[in-house]
């Protein structure tokens, strides 16, 4: 299973997690892990998700999440896990 890392960064506000997770659920994307911190009012979240049963293609989900982020005022980014494994694991 190829995992996808979703990062959400931006100014904290009500409903960031709710809106992101609702979108993922609507598109049949399973969340495997969530970690989240708030540093000086700045919201930082990382999710590890499984796109294997997703109802849309990776490119479309990535674009829609980006747009969703814009509407909440945060930056949402989807990346295949490989880039982090390559860089940080031997």
């Amino acid at each position: 299973m190829k995992k996808t890392i979703i990062t959400v960064v931006g100014k904290d506000t009500v409903g960031i997690i709710a809106k992101t997770c609702t979108y993922l659920a609507d598109n049949n994307i399973n969340i495997l892990d969530i970690s989240q911190t708030i540093v000086k009012d700045y919201f930082n979240m990382m999710m590890i998700a499984d796109f294997s049963k997703a109802s849309k293609k990776f490119g479309a989900v990535s674009k829609e999440l980006e747009e969703l982020g814009e509407s909440i005022g945060v930056i949402i980014k989807c990346q295949q896990e490989d880039i982090f494994n390559s860089m940080h694991r031997i």
Binding site: S35, S62, K77, Q80, D82, I83, S86
Partner: protein, 454 residues
């Protein structure tokens, strides 16, 4: 499992420190396009390139989206055209026809540059080699995406001084033919000693005859990432400094290796090499000169520069080598002037001269690169500078290159504007004492004694 700090570190490299994959270069052999009729050759070339590379740009963009890493250029390198056109080109005009066919194919597949309008003449020139070389000024002035390179020497063969002399004239003529655009034709023309067959970077990329039918080569970048990492170890010992560069180079190269593997899989073309070069751009914070300053120099060019560059180049290789299964190309730190804001600043401050740059090329990965010189510089003087640089490569068993731009109509104090990744450059003074009698001798310089290893 991957943690948040690691994700953050990678994304900061991409977003704030200009980490990118500089190029995916698809090498394509054109040897099977050879024919006795030049029009047929042009047709064969166009068909082969547009077939082999039809998905190159799309695949590059897809990979870029999947990992959210910019892939700046998609390029093609082809078999040196002097070989491909040898059977059908009876005049320089015939070679220009091939250049136009290449340009048309490059535009059709949407790539940024196509390299390989080249001749390999390190020991001698065939008639076709000479015709191609003489066609370069016209070819570069009539095409947009074609890059040209000529290999003039090697450690094994010595230096072909007849070709060195000819290239001085060809560079001047190329400058003259593109003078309304600050002689930009010369930015797409480079001469080499010990040219590698698998270089993904322009202007010197070509698909060597030792290569397979098609191959993927990747050039990574990341001067900004190294600079940022070094900011955190200011004042520390050389051991700490070197370890930091090495670890950073490892991380940067791993991204290149990943992209290479993915591109190879998606295009169904074998993976060739990752080129470990630290390639700067004119963007602020994407400068090799800034790394040298971070190591402890007021400006690139100050005493200590050659040592600092040697250290940087070596550590980049040591870190990168373990990160990739195949390393090749030029692999090291590039020191172009116009493409590096820190270098431009150093020249403007009076810290960096052509002579110091020459010394730096003894320890970096390539040579005198993207240096603008006065437009009235004599052809023999350009040949003299080339000969010096070729000698450094030949004796030190390394690749060296020269990409000089004699900017027609401009003099020291002016500056030349090339635009985009090619940047801009202050015109640098050149030693004006004559070397005419040296350059006008015929023949070649023999290979050095340490090349006889058999």
């Amino acid at each position: 499992m991957i943690n948040m700090f690691e994700v953050k570190e990678t994304n900061e490299m991409i977003e704030k420190e200009n980490l990118d994959v500089r190029t995916i270069t698809l090498g394509i052999s054109l040897l099977d396009c050879i024919d006795g009729d030049v029009n047929k050759v042009c047709e064969n070339i166009y068909n082969k390139i547009t077939e082999k590379a039809k998905d190159l740009v799309k695949v590059g963009e897809d990979i870029s989206h999947e990992y959210a890493i910019p892939i700046v250029n998609k390029r093609i390198s082809v078999t040196p055209i002097a070989l491909v056109g040898g059977a059908c080109c009876k005049t320089s005009k015939d070679f220009v026809k091939i250049a136009k066919a290449l340009d048309k194919a490059a535009k059709a597949v949407g790539i940024n540059f196509l390299g390989g309008y080249s001749a390999l003449v390190s020991k001698g020139m065939t008639k076709a080699d000479e015709l191609l070389i003489r066609s370069i000024p016209e070819a570069l002035s009539q095409t947009g995406l074609i890059c040209s390179s000529v290999n003039l020497g090697s450690t094994k063969t010595g230096i072909n001084m007849d070709a060195v002399r000819l290239m001085g004239e060809v560079i001047k003529e190329t400058a003259e033919r593109t003078k309304e655009k600050d002689s930009i034709g010369c930015a797409k023309l480079v001469v080499f000693c010990n040219a590698p067959d698998d270089n993904p970077f322009m202007a010197g990329a070509f698909h060597g005859v030792t290569e397979a039918d098609a191959i993927i080569n990747i050039g990574v970048s990341g001067p900004g990432v190294v600079k940022y990492a070094l900011e955190k170890v200011r004042g520390e010992s050389f051991e700490v400094l070197c370890e930091t560069i090495k670890k950073t180079a490892f991380k940067v190269t791993r991204v290149g290796q990943l992209v290479a593997r993915e591109a190879s899989k998606k295009l169904n073309v074998p993976f060739g090499i990752v080129d470990l070069s630290l390639a700067p751009t004119p963007a602020i914070g994407d400068s090799v000169a800034d790394i040298l300053c971070e190591i402890g120099l007021e400006h690139a060019g100050a005493p200590g520069t050659t040592a600092a560059l040697a250290l940087l180049n070596d550590q980049v290789k040591k870190g990168g080598v373990m990160a990739s299964s195949y390393v090749g190309g030029l692999s090291g730190a590039f020191i172009p002037v116009s493409e590096d804001q820190g270098m431009i600043n150093a020249v403007n401050a009076g810290a960096l001269t052509l002579e110091k740059l020459e010394a730096m090329t003894c320890v970096c990965s390539v040579g005198l690169d993207m240096i603008a010189i006065p437009g009235d510089t004599k052809a023999t003087t350009i040949s003299g500078i080339i000969a010096d640089e070729m000698a450094i490569g030949m004796v030190n068993q390394k690749t060296t290159a020269v990409r000089l731009i004699p900017v027609i109509g401009k003099k020291v104090g002016d500056s030349a504007e090339f635009g985009g990744l090619l940047g801009y450059a202050p015109i640098m003074p050149v030693n004006e004492f004559s070397c005419d009698d040296f350059i006008n001798r015929k023949g070649r310089i023999p290979a050095p004694i340490h090349s006889f290893k058999n």
